[in-house]
Amino acid sequence: MQIATRRIRFRVLFGLLLPLAGVGMAQDGSAPAWGGERARLTLGLLQTWESKATRRMFALGPIDVAAGDRLPDAQLPEIAFALEREGDDCEGSMTFESAETLLETHALVWTASFEVLSASTDRIELRGRWRRLGKGARGRPEELAADPDARLNLREGDRVLLDFARSPDPRCARSFALELSAELAEDPALAREQVGFEMWLVHESPGAEKRSDYLRLTATQGQELAFQFPHVRVPASVGSHEVATELHIDVRGTVRGRIRPDGSIDLSLESERTLWYVAPDGAGEHVGDGGEKLLNVRPGEVLRVELPGPTRNTQRPERYARDLAGHSFSLILRARVVS
């Protein structure tokens, strides 16, 4: 395998990449005025060796693309990743040549192109196309797989495996895959800002005092932070065939804040809840649910986000409903600009 690793040879047509190097820069080399939110996209080819980890072989990006623009760009409609065995070597290329031309010399070719429809905090909408071409049974070039109208709704940091194929030659790798990843580019004027979060999990139950747990977090602009509250313990009633248990409610999730030029804060709050029936010996059953909210708030505004009642999507929904009757859970969230 080491021999194969040494033999493989990659080639990137840097001359053709030069136009892309200018993306995000004005003609005089200075940073352009921030003209709205932009997706930061990367199209790459993944390679997996036999018994080895998957790694990125080529990548076009990350490149900032405004809504209405495409990756590559208007002058270079598609990026192509091509693979071929050449003598004892395996050759891989990332190029802007046409697939048909590449197929004259390469066994496997991917082409891809994506347009940004919209880009905002944790909501990146893309539309694009990709094709995988190779040599058919008679050695003729043909389209092996394609999605001419791929629609993607992504959160920041998401990665999408668009297509997967076994290597045309095991000496090149075991398999290859076409991948797209998306983030949100930061406004340079706000990239160093910090957002402070205060969060409370409020539990109200019949005949008991309202209880709350408190968390305090600080993140840089656009950074996603994880949070987790301590277990909330509720006594579980015991049915005729049930072991004495305690019901634990775990609430955790992620929060992301992005200060906008007008001073307001875009918030992305992803919450997860797990309901655990825990027996004295530690055994138990559990069920989880969760959701996501995308909001725009004023700094210091206090939000109350109510969690729904217990899940019904379980084999014994009546047990959860019985033990959580009258209980309510909500998240209180306050975001500030850290000065």
């Binding site: 069920v287 505004e301 206090v302 729904p308 019904r312």
Partner: protein, 128 residues
Amino acid sequence: MQTEVDEVVSAFVDGEPVDAGELASALAAPGGREALLDFMLLRARLVDGAEPSPGFVERMRRRLGGRTGAPGWARVVGLAAAAAVLALATLGALDLGRALRGNRPDEPPEATRVIRYEPGVDWRESEG
């Protein structure tokens, strides 16, 4: 000149110390005796009826239950007003204390916007 005469005579009628020579001169001056008479009549009118007659006092005492101190209704109103002022002051002090202290950090503040995860819309349930 008349003003000085009036002042001396007025002071004399009010019982203030007056120089005898000045009083004699004032009374000897034109209009001095008339001024003395006017002031005496005026004082008599002011004094006359300034205090209720003994009969009026007796009737009011009977009407008010024979009390000789402050009337009962006035005392009740006064006590109620004092209690209200005390209560308001106490509430104000508590509110001021709360405002100065603020909420404890681990106490959730009052929400200004309430939203809810909606199952099937932005809340998903996993299989249990």
